[in-house]
C-alpha cells in the first residue's frame, strides 16, 4: 500500500464527565484516492471520529496524521484546508445569500485573489452540475441541490480529502442519488479521497472499503461484499442489510435458486430470471 493519506494509531478519546471512551484504541489507514465508508449505529463513535479528523477534537492518546500533518493545534488550519467536510443538514451550512456567494465564502476566508476566486467558483459549480444556479437564493433549492452547493464550496478549496458526515441522511432518495453520483464523479476526475460517515448501507455499498464501528472501536473491516455477508450481525449492531440481500434471502426461503449475496438489484433480478423462470 502507498503511503496512506490518513493514518490513525491507537487513538483514545473521551468526552468530559463521561464514564466510557467515545473512541477506544482506534487504528486505521485511509489510502489516497479510495472511498472509505465508516458505518455504525448512533453513538458508535463515528461522528466523534469525523470531528477529530477535522480538528474539532484531539485524541487523549494516540496519533493522527492527515495529508502529512500531525493532528495538533498548530497544524489544524493546514489540515482543514486539505480535508473538507459536508455536514448532515443542508440548511445549517449555507452561509451565502446566493449560490455563488456561498461557494466563494471559503475562498475569501483563505485570501484567494478575486480573479482566481471567480474562476474557481465557476469551475466548482460546473463540476457539481449547479452552474445554472449561480445567482439563486438557497431557499429555492432542493435538499440535494443544497448539498451539491456545499460540495462545490468544499472542492473550491482544492482539498485532498472530502468527508461526508451523514451528508445524505436528510435527503429524499432522488436527492441522495444526485449527491452520491456527484461525489463518485469528483472522486474519479480529481483523485479525491472520500470518507463517508453514514448509517445508510446503500451509500456504504458504493465505497471501496467499509469500516464498522461499534462502541468506539473498529468492529470489522472489509469490502462491501465482505461486510454485507455479516447479514444478521449487522442488524444486531443496529444497522441494516441492503435491500437486494434481504430480498435474495426471502426468495431462497420461497425455494428460488439464488446464489450468494447480491449487492445490486440488477444482479439479483437477472439471476432470479435466468435461473428460475427462463428455462
Amino acid at each position: 500500500m502507498k503511503e496512506p493519506i490518513i493514518s490513525i494509531r491507537h487513538v483514545y478519546f473521551r468526552y468530559p464527565e463521561q464514564q466510557s471512551d467515545a473512541l477506544h484504541d482506534i487504528s486505521l489507514d485511509v489510502a489516497q484516492g479510495e472511498w472509505l465508508a465508516i458505518v455504525g449505529h448512533n453513538g458508535s463513535g463515528k461522528s466523534t471520529l469525523a470531528k477529530m479528523l477535522n480538528g474539532l477534537h484531539y485524541p487523549r492518546e494516540g496519533e493522527v496524521m492527515i495529508s502529512g500533518f500531525p493532528l495538533k493545534e498548530e497544524y489544524v488550519w493546514e489540515i482543514r484546508r486539505r480535508l473538507g467536510m459536508v455536514f448532515q443538514n443542508p440548511d445549517n451550512q449555507f452561509v451565502g445569500t446566493t449560490v455563488q456567494d456561498d461557494v466563494a465564502f471559503g475562498l475569501e476566508n483563505n485570501g484567494v485573489p478575486h480573479d482566481i476566486m471567480v474562476r474557481r467558483v465557476e469551475e466548482s459549480l460546473q463540476r457539481v452540475g449547479m452552474l445554472d444556479f449561480l445567482n439563486q437564493e438557497p431557499h429555492h433549492l432542493s435538499g440535494g441541490q443544497k448539498q451539491r452547493v456545499a460540495i462545490a464550496g468544499v472542492i473550491a478549496l482544492q482539498p485532498d480529502i472530502i468527508l461526508l458526515d451523514e451528508a445524505t441522511s436528510m435527503l429524499d432518495p432522488l436527492g441522495r442519488e444526485e449527491v452520491l453520483s456527484t461525489v463518485r464523479e469528483l472522486k474519479e476526475e480529481q483523485k479525491l479521497t472520500v470518507i463517508s460517515i453514514t448509517h445508510d448501507l446503500e451509500e456504504a455499498a458504493r465505497a471501496d472499503r467499509i469500516i464498522v464501528l461499534n462502541q468506539g472501536s473498529v468492529y470489522h473491516e472489509g469490502t462491501p461484499d465482505d461486510i454485507f455477508q455479516m447479514n444478521k450481525e449487522l442488524i444486531q449492531l443496529g444497522l441494516d442489510v441492503p435491500f437486494p440481500i434481504k430480498l435474495g434471502e426471502a426468495l431462497r426461503r420461497q425455494g428460488f435458486d439464488i446464489q450468494g449475496g447480491h449487492l445490486t438489484e440488477e444482479e439479483l433480478v437477472r439471476e432470479l430470471w435466468t435461473s428460475n423462470f427462463k428455462k
Binding site: N42, P173, L174, G238, F243, L247, Q254, G255, F256
Partner: protein
C-alpha cells in the same frame, strides 16, 4: 376526531411584497383512527399543511375543520388551546426544543401547560419513558447529557404526554440509525393501534409510507396531486416520478423484473415477503418452464 381540509389556500406574508402562495385548493380528510402519510418533494407544502392541523396557521381561504371546530380566514377562533391539546405535533428534530433541567420536567411541561396536575404529569412522564425505549434512570438526568437519539425520544415523550387524539409526525426518524428508526416507527404504530389515534406522517421514506400508512396524500407545488392507498399510488410509478418522487425498493424491483421477464405480477407488492410470495406464485402457475 376527523380533520378536514376544505379548499385550503395559504399565502405567506399576504398583502406584502413578499407574499408567496404556499397552498392552493387543498382538500383532504384525515378520518379518525387512520394512518395517513403525506409525501412530496422539498418545498411542496407539507410543512405548511402540518401547521394547519392544529391551527398554528389559519388558511387565507377555505377552512380546516378539526373535530367539529372550524378554523378559517374570516373566523377569529378564540380558544385554540383545546385544539392544540388534541392534536400533538412532533416537529422535525424535536430534540432542539428541549430546555428543562431534567428529562422528567421536560416531559411534564406540556401536560402541565394544559392544566394537568403535577402528580398526574409526573405519572405520565414515568409511564412514557419506558414506552419510548429509555430506562427510568434518565428521568433525573439533564436532557443535554443524552445522546441525540435519546434526546429525540425524550422530545417525543413530551408530545405523547399531552395524550393527543391526533399525532402528527414530521420526519420523526431523520438522522436516526436503522434500528432507532424501526424502533421509533414501530412504537408510533403500536400507539396508533392501541389508542386508536389518528396519525399523520410526513416522510421522504416511501418504505415507511408503504409499510405503515392506510392512505397517502401526495403534494406538489402546494396542491394535492395524488391521493389513495399505498397500493393504488405505487401502481402508478410514472406519475409519482413526474412529481420527483420514487417508489419503495420492493416496487422498483418488481418493475425491473416485469420489464426483464415480460410477465406481470398480480398486484403491486408492499413488503419483501409479499414480493417473494407473489414471485413464487408466478413461477408455480406457469410463469416458468
Amino acid at each position: 376526531m376527523d380533520i378536514q381540509l376544505q379548499e385550503v389556500e395559504y399565502r405567506y406574508a399576504a398583502g406584502t411584497p413578499f407574499e408567496r402562495l404556499a397552498l392552493k385548493d387543498v382538500s383532504f380528510t384525515i378520518p379518525e383512527g387512520r394512518f395517513v402519510a403525506i409525501i412530496g418533494h422539498t418545498g411542496s407544502g407539507k410543512s405548511t399543511i402540518i401547521q394547519h392541523l392544529n391551527a398554528l396557521l389559519r388558511p387565507t381561504k377555505g377552512k380546516v375543520v378539526i373535530g367539529g371546530r372550524v378554523v378559517s380566514a374570516d373566523k377569529k377562533e378564540k380558544n385554540l388551546k383545546e385544539i392544540r391539546k388534541k392534536v400533538g405535533i412532533v416537529f422535525q428534530f424535536p430534540e432542539h426544543q428541549l430546555f428543562e433541567e431534567t428529562v422528567e420536567k421536560d416531559i411534564m411541561y406540556g401536560p402541565m401547560n394544559f392544566g394537568v396536575s403535577e402528580e398526574e404529569a409526573r405519572d405520565r412522564a414515568r409511564g412514557l419513558i419506558e414506552k419510548v425505549g429509555l430506562p427510568d434512570s434518565v428521568l433525573e438526568k439533564s436532557p443535554f447529557d443524552l445522546s441525540g437519539g435519546q434526546m429525540r425520544r425524550v422530545a417525543i415523550a413530551g408530545v405523547l404526554a399531552m395524550e393527543p387524539d391526533v399525532l402528527v409526525l414530521d420526519e420523526p426518524t431523520a438522522g436516526l440509525d436503522p434500528r432507532g428508526r424501526k424502533e421509533i416507527m414501530d412504537m408510533f404504530y403500536a400507539l396508533h393501534k392501541e389508542k386508536g389515534l389518528s396519525t399523520v406522517l410526513v416522510t421522504h421514506s416511501m418504505e415507511d409510507a408503504a409499510f405503515y400508512a392506510d392512505d397517502m396524500v401526495v403534494m406538489h407545488k402546494g396542491s394535492v396531486c395524488m391521493q389513495g392507498t399505498p397500493r393504488e399510488l405505487f401502481s402508478r410509478p410514472e406519475e409519482l416520478a413526474s412529481y420527483g418522487l420514487s417508489v419503495p425498493e420492493v416496487i422498483r424491483f418488481q418493475q425491473k423484473f416485469e420489464e426483464l421477464s415480460g410477465m406481470k405480477l398480480a398486484r403491486p407488492c408492499l413488503t419483501i415477503e409479499e414480493l417473494a410470495e407473489e414471485l413464487s406464485r408466478l413461477r408455480d402457475w406457469g410463469g416458468g418452464s
